[in-house]
């Protein structure tokens, strides 16, 4: 599969060869991705020590969404290093996010 990667020019966007218009994704899929996936700027905490308000917003965001999420059977926050209470919140240990090369399970 590495040859596919070499074939792909660096400037290639994902929509360029797709005729299909954007399709509406279901809410669960969107929430799962925008709340739990995507780039986490790993040094957020360290940087935000200089920027306390932003850090606070992020933590509040995650905590605030717990009640509703729990009602829906979502428990992502349990895996969030920022909320697990184990120290400095450094996201490095979270191999859930070291995704690309390793095929999980």
């Amino acid at each position: 599969m590495t040859d596919a990667r070499e074939r792909a020019p660096l400037t290639r966007p994902y929509g360029s060869s797709l005729a299909a218009p954007p399709q509406p994704a279901n809410l669960a899929d969107i929430l799962e991705r925008v709340l739990d996936k995507g780039i986490v700027i790993a040094g957020d905490i360290r940087v935000n020590l200089l920027d306390i308000e932003l850090l606070t917003i992020k933590i509040r965001l995650l905590v605030a969404s717990v009640d509703k999420a729990q009602e829906m059977g979502i428990d992502w926050w349990r895996r969030d290093p920022m909320l697990s209470g184990d120290g400095d919140g450094n996201a490095n240990g979270n191999d859930e996010r070291k995704a690309v090369e390793s095929k999980d399970e």
Partner: protein, 261 residues
């Protein structure tokens, strides 16, 4: 009092203003590119002041409002998707907010290499979601039949036997779905450059009639999209008893990461 913050949607390759011009962000705001070196951050300006929707208190309240959360999540996704369809883009998590453009540029500089690698990984590729749902367990219809009238000889035992049979049928359906999930995931992983099993979504969330046994995310080269979809179709034909859902292409949410240097 209003106070502006810089809300980040995605890290991307330089993108035309024409693309961004058609997009509106989580606060209905126009989005723009903050450029630094060979990368841009796609951002919008939101109100993080005491009275703003993204102010600390309001945000806490708003996020407990599922309607608001849904709107914000969909708007976030729409911007990321719009950008990713035009240029290689790596999504950021909901509500990543910097103080100002300088804060954004500071992050682009600080994590440049990580962002660059993340972008390179997803360039020319898109994420697909494939889900497997358990077959419906067609055991004896316990619920469809009224419980026998008390005192009817033998009918209580028959009712219990039907209940047990129904429970067994459900267990069998789950075991079958688990097996199918393994096969589907292995097969699709072979058609992808990246594959992950996400946590199964709760039935209350999916509204599905049966449990989800696979919530797979696959990073697929654009050129192989057709092959991937054909593989899904083949799996559907092979496992007609399980419902198999496919969705995509999406921005590569599940396949971006930035390691702290």
């Amino acid at each position: 009092m209003s106070e502006s913050g810089c809300y980040l949607y995605a890290i991307a390759a330089p993108v035309d203003d024409g693309v961004l011009g058609g997009l509106r962000g989580v606060a209905g705001e126009p989005v723009r590119a903050v450029r630094h070196r060979d990368l841009v951050a796609v951002v919008g300006t939101v109100d993080v002041g005491a009275t703003g929707a993204f102010g600390e208190e309001a945000l806490a309240r708003n996020l407990n409002d599922l309607g608001w959360l849904e709107h914000a999540a969909r708007a976030h996704h729409a911007v990321v998707d719009g950008v990713a369809r035009a240029v290689p883009a790596a999504p950021l998590r909901l509500a990543t907010i910097c103080a100002d453009d300088d804060g954004v540029r500071d992050r682009l500089e600080r994590w440049h290499d990580g962002f660059r690698r993340a972008l390179d990984e997803v360039t020319g590729r898109a994420e697909w979601s494939v889900k497997v749902f358990a077959p419906s367990s067609r055991g004896p219809g316990v619920d469809a039949e009224p419980a026998p009238a008390a005192g009817t000889p033998g009918s209580g035992a028959a009712y219990l036997i039907r209940r047990k049979a129904a429970a067994t049928a459900r267990d069998d359906a789950l075991a079958r779905a688990t097996e199918v999930a393994e096969d589907v995931h292995a097969e699709l992983a072979a058609h992808a450059v990246g594959a992950r099993r996400l946590a199964g979504q709760d039935q209350r969330l999916t509204g599905g009639a049966t449990p989800m046994s696979l919530n797979g995310a696959y990073l697929v080269p654009i050129d192989d999209s057709g092959g991937f979809e054909a593989a899904v179709e083949a799996l559907r034909a092979r496992y007609t008893d399980c419902r198999i859902e496919v969705a995509g292409p999406w921005p590569a949410y599940s396949f971006v990461t930035v390691e702290q240097s």
